[in-house]
Amino acid sequence: MKGCEAVGEAALKAGCRHFYAYPATPATDLVEYMARRLPASGGVFMQADSEISALGMVYGAAAAGKRSMTALAGPGVGLCQESISHLAASELPCVLVHLSRSGPGQGNVLPSQGDYFQATKCGPGDYHLLVLAPSSVQEAADLTCLAFYLADKYRNPVMVLADGALGQLVERVNFSDRDLDSLPEIHWEVAGAAGRPRRVISSICFSVSELAEHNLKLKEKYRDMARAHTLFEVYEGQDAKVLLVAFGTAARVAAKAVDKLRAEGYQVGLMRPITLFPFPSDALKERVSQVKAFLVVEMNLGQMLEDVERAVLGQRPVDFLGITGGAVPTPEQITAAVKETWEKHC
């Protein structure tokens, strides 16, 4: 199954029946999949006139307590930042699937990880999204399911951030049921105030104290998310002297490079953040004493790099391999970069 289709199918299995999107490359396959599947599943599919309108409709369906989703490509996320800020501030759950492409500006439609900042550092205001970064089609399906769960659990928008390459990748997928804790019943949605006091879903706090209190409550929530749902994977990390750090598609290639280098006798491992927010800083910190140097590999010119540097705090060198323009790194590029880091620091 294609990555895009696996995400769509996982969303349906997670109970998503409201999907609104603007068809932006490379997210179009997901949009088309939902157009085919949702009406037959008793759901609502609506192609919107812009990502802004798509998010508006997600906002409305989410306010009514329905599991809602949109599909976005890089530039469209910029259009949505206003609405995403509102969704986060109003504490409305929804899932944003973001298949990033190369920028800045029009750039091209080839895969990229240049939207790391946009996903993890967010739009106007002072809020966070949970950002999940799959690196296989199976994981794209699993994380989409988890995204709906976490969105409901925390009443917060959750972004599944993949690149266009993962959306097009074809792999086997198993849609086994996830073992997730049960969620509390919804008791905040609007539907008409029948048999209860009326409800207002809003992100407006007129007074300083009211807004400060609200923002501090959100901060607590982000801290809870970080405690319970900071996800990462370490590959061949046990004795690694050089630790690669990469996510998504770049991490797939990095894992291949690790195998090659291990066969040549290099003690090298890979740390793959699965949640980009919350970022697994503590897991990196724990490895500082063991590791001689870190090497961050990204399909951009250095974005997650800043979070790695912040975790390592200058205690070890952090080298960087950045691939830009829409290319995916090759295992050879990564092995060459690791060898360079090894020469310098090991």
Partner: protein
């Protein structure tokens, strides 16, 4: 002789008994009271969801005792469409001013009308940005002085947009009217239009839009009485009243 007192007028139930933030003479209070009356008469207080927008229209949720969602600037029609999909059969309306609907939100209202989204749009047009201090809005008349057109709006700043006519031209909009709340007769007619808009929406016939001309004495720099005259003399000739479309 014993006198029996009968109550002949009262505050409609959905209207909270609170002081509003609106300036003296402002039309928002009149329109919101009409909405409260219409909600009562249609008996929909328990199955209506309003979508508030940005500007002086925003605090409507402080004054009407019904479920509300507050939308980002201009996005109210899209939010209302999502609500309608999730809550078929409910009364769903947006309450938007001219700055919200006709500037930042023009894309949303046009496409909501093109899709025929089952929503009622209450469009309060006072030809200025009220909350931000009286700047030019898309419906500011030529010659009208605002804080960003201190010499009066000239054509270089753009021509005022006739929203009701624009929306009426789209097949998905099935009830479109322009009303005014400048005198008792017009207020009554505006109320009837609101009733028709909600009936049209709840019967799934498509998008309803009621544009309501109102006054903003504070930002127009006129007294309430002068403002009503100004509305009659300048706004109504450019924005003619009546039902433009009823299918």
């Amino acid at each position: 002789m014993a006198v029996t007192l009968e109550k002949v007028a009262d505050r409609p139930r959905p209207l909270y008994d609170v002081a509003t933030h609106y300036c003296p003479g402002c039309s928002h209070g009149v329109i919101q009271r009409l909405l409260a009356e219409v909600i009562t008469e249609l008996d929909i207080q328990q199955r209506i969801v309003g979508v508030a927008s940005v500007g002086c229209s925003l605090p409507i949720y402080h004054y009407l005792d019904i479920d509300f969602v507050c939308a980002p600037h201009g996005r109210a029609p899209a939010v209302a469409a999502g609500l309608n999909h999730a809550l078929p059969g409910r009364a769903i309306f947006t309450y938007q001013g001219d700055g919200d609907l006709a500037a930042a939100g023009m894309g949303q209202i046009v496409h909501a009308a093109a899709r025929g989204d089952r929503i009622a749009v209450i469009f309060a047009n006072n030809a200025t940005y009220g909350m931000t201090g009286g700047q030019m809005s898309p419906t500011t008349l030529l010659g009208q002085k605002t804080s960003t057109t201190p010499q009066g709006r000239d054509a270089q700043a753009g021509y005022p947009i006739r929203v009701a006519e624009l929306i009426a031209g789209l097949p998905g909009a099935t009830y479109v009217a322009r009303m005014a709340v400048n005198n008792p007769g017009n207020i009554k007619r505006a109320k009837l239009a609101l009733i028709r808009a909600f009936q049209n929406q709840m019967h799934n016939r498509g998008l309803s839009l009621v544009e309501i001309l109102g006054i903003c004495p504070t930002d127009w720099g006129l007294s309430p009485a002068e403002s009503l005259t100004w509305l009659k003399n300048y706004m109504i000739p450019y924005y003619p009243l009546g039902e433009l479309k009823s299918i």
